[in-house]
Amino acid sequence: MAGKTLFDKIWEKHVVANVEGGPSVLYIDRHLIHEVTSPQAFGGLKARGIKVRRPDKTIATPDHNIPTMDQHLPIHDELSRFQVNKLKENCEENGVLMYGLNHPYNGIVHVIGPELGITQPGMTIVCGDSHTSTHGAFGSIAFGIGTSEVEMVLATQCLMQSRPKTMRINVEGALQKGVTSKDIVLYIISQISTGGGTGYFVEFAGSAIRSLSMEARMTICNMSIEMGARGGMIAPDEITFEYVKGREFAPKGEAWEKAVAEWRKLPSDADAKFDKELHFKAEDIEPMITYGTNPGMGIGISGKIPSLNEVEAASVNTFKKSLDYMGYQPGDAMVGKPVDYVFVGSCTNGRIEDLRAFAAFIKGKKKADNVTAWIVPGSKQVERQALAEGIKEILEAAGFELRQPGCSACLAMNDDKIPEGKYAVATSNRNFEGRQGPGARTMLASPLTAAAAAITGVISDPRTFLS
C-alpha cells in the first residue's frame, strides 16, 4: 500500500461521514469569520432558529471594510460601519470571540490566525475568504468557502466537501539574491496559469521551500488560490514548531509536547503518491512582476510582455483586452514603466518580515516624488512590532507613512482606492480589473520590487540596489 500524503492524513482524520456518491462531511477545527462574508450566514441561522454550534472554535475580526487611518473614530462610511457593527452584534448574540477595531489583536484574518497560534499543524481551517489557503503553511488543510458554506460551518461545524486531487510542486535549489517567496509563487502561477491548480490541493515542497521562514511560506500558500488550487500546504517542521511555540492559543506544557509528537507524523510519507507532480528550479526565478489583469500574467522583471504570436490563438482576444486595460503593448519591457502608487500590505505581504525587508531597502533613500505610497501593516501586532523596531521612523525619514492595519487597497473596499488609470505596484495578490479601485492598474510584486519602484518612481529591478 502506498504511503499517505500530508493532505490525506489530515483529511482522513476529519471525515465524520461519507455521503453516498457525493462529498464527505468534513469536521472543521477552526472557523475564522470577518464582516463581509458572514452577515448573510448569521441571517440564515436566525431564519432556521439556531445558534452557532461551536462558538469556541469560531473567531472573528473585522478587516476587509475598515479604514486604515483614524481608527479611533467611528467609521465614516455608513455601509461599512453598519457591516462592522453587524459582525459585533452577531458575535455577541452567539458568544463568538471577536477582536474588534482597536483591539490589540485586531488585524487581517489570515495574519492574526497564525500570529495568535490559532493556526496549528494538522487542523482543518476555513474562512469565507479565498486566501484562507495562507494557513496551509503550517501543514493544515485550510481553504476559502462561500457564505452558504460559512452558514453550514456555523450551524454544524462541518462542511460538505468533495475530496480534491493532490498535487506536489517541488522547488529545489537556492534563490538568487533579491528573489523572495512572493517571486516563487508568482513564477509558479505564470508557468501553470490561474487555472493550473484547479481541482487540486497543492503541497509545496523541495529545498527552496523548506529553507523559507514561516512568514515567507505563508506568502506562497496564500497565493495558491491564484493558481486555482483549492488550497496549498507545506509540511510542518522545526521552523513551524518554533514559530507556533508560546503563542497565545498554542498548546502549553505537556500538551505542547504531545501536540508536537503528533505533528511530526504529518509530513507526506516517502512513498506517498500525488495525482500530479511538478518541478521547478529556484535559480530560474527572477524578481517577478505582473503586466496583465490576472496573477498568471507575470514575467521576470528583466523580461518582456509576450508578443501576440506567443499567445494561444483562442486566448488572443482576452490577452488584448487585458493589455488594453493596462495601457501596455505586446512585447513591451516592464523595467522603466511609470508607477504612481505603491501598496505594501495585505494577507500576502503585510507581515513584519515584509515591512522589515521594505524598510531595510529604502533606509537612507528617498521616496520618488511622483509616487504615493501606502504602507499598511497586516495587524495591530505587526504595527506594534514595526514601532518597536524603529521601522516607522525609517519609513518617515524616507518620506513614507505607516498606516493602520486592514485589508486596505488589496481590494479597495475602504477609502484606500487607486484612482482610475493610475499604475500601482502592489504586494497584494490580485491584479484583476478594478481590484484596487475602478479603473486602477495593478502590477503585483514582492516588497523588494515595490521598494525599488517607490524609490525610483518607475518599475525597477531590485537586484541593482543590492550589493
Binding site: 461521514a17 457525493g22 452577515p39 462541518c158 460538505m160 487555472g195 484547479t198 483586452k321 484583476f432 480589473e433
Partner: protein
C-alpha cells in the same frame, strides 16, 4: 430551507466570450457591503456594464437587446479569484439559472450549486460551437437536461454530456439544502466530536 429546483432548462443565451472572468468582474468589492443576499443582480458585471456615471456601455453584451435568456455562456476558467458568494447571488439575481463554460473555478462552482445555479462544464470544442451558434442566431435555444446530464443546441443538432456530482445533482433536482442534511445528522457529529476530543 431550500434552493431553487433545477430539472431542465431551454433558453436563449447571453454570450461572454472572455476567458478567466474573475469574481471581482462579476461583482466588484465595493458592492460587498450589503448584509442580505438581495439586490446584487443590478450590479452584475457593473464595471463592464456601466460607465463611471452609471450609463450603460452599449458595447457590453448585457446592454445589447439582441441577447437575452437564462443561460450565460462564458470563456474558460469562469469565476476565478475571490470566494465571494455575492458573485453567484448577482448571477442568480440577474435571472441566470445556468452558466456554461469549458472550465470553472472550484469555489465559484460550489457557490453556484448552493444557490440553485447549474454550472455546465463542456469541452472547449463544444463551447466554441455554442458561441458560433449564438453568433449565427442570437435567439438560438440551448437545452440543459440535468436528469440526463446533457446540453444541446437542438437547431444545430449538437449535444454533449456533462459531469455533476451525483449528490449535488439530487440536491438541485429536489431543491435540497446541504445544511438541512447536516443538521439531520447532528447526532453523528456529536458522537464524532466526543471521540475526537477525548
Amino acid at each position: 430551507m431550500s434552493i431553487d429546483k433545477f430539472v431542465t432548462l431551454e433558453s436563449s443565451c447571453v454570450p461572454l466570450p472572455i476567458e478567466n472572468v474573475d469574481t471581482d468582474q462579476i461583482i466588484p468589492a465595493r458592492f460587498l457591503k450589503a448584509t442580505t443576499r438581495e439586490g446584487f443582480g443590478d450590479n452584475l458585471f457593473c464595471d463592464w456594464r456601466y460607465d463611471k456615471n452609471g450609463n450603460p456601455k452599449p458595447d457590453f453584451v448585457l446592454n445589447n437587446p439582441v441577447y437575452s435568456g437564462q443561460i450565460l455562456v462564458a470563456g474558460k476558467n469562469f469565476g476565478s479569484g475571490s470566494s465571494r458568494e455575492h458573485a453567484a447571488w448577482a448571477i442568480h439575481g440577474y435571472g441566470f439559472k445556468a452558466v456554461v463554460s469549458s472550465f470553472f473555478a472550484d469555489i465559484f462552482k460550489n457557490n453556484s450549486l448552493n444557490n440553485g445555479i447549474l454550472p455546465v462544464q463542456v469541452t472547449d470544442g463544444f463551447l466554441a460551437q455554442v458561441f458560433d451558434a449564438i453568433n449565427e442566431n442570437p435567439k438560438v435555444l440551448v437545452k440543459v437536461d440535468l436528469e440526463n446530464q446533457t446540453i444541446s443546441v437542438p437547431a444545430k443538432g449538437i449535444s454533449e454530456k456533462f459531469d455533476i456530482n451525483p449528490y449535488k445533482k439530487k440536491c438541485l433536482i429536489n431543491g435540497y439544502d446541504d445544511i438541512d442534511y447536516l443538521i439531520s445528522i447532528s447526532e453523528n457529529i456529536k458522537a464524532w466530536e466526543a471521540k475526537a476530543e477525548k
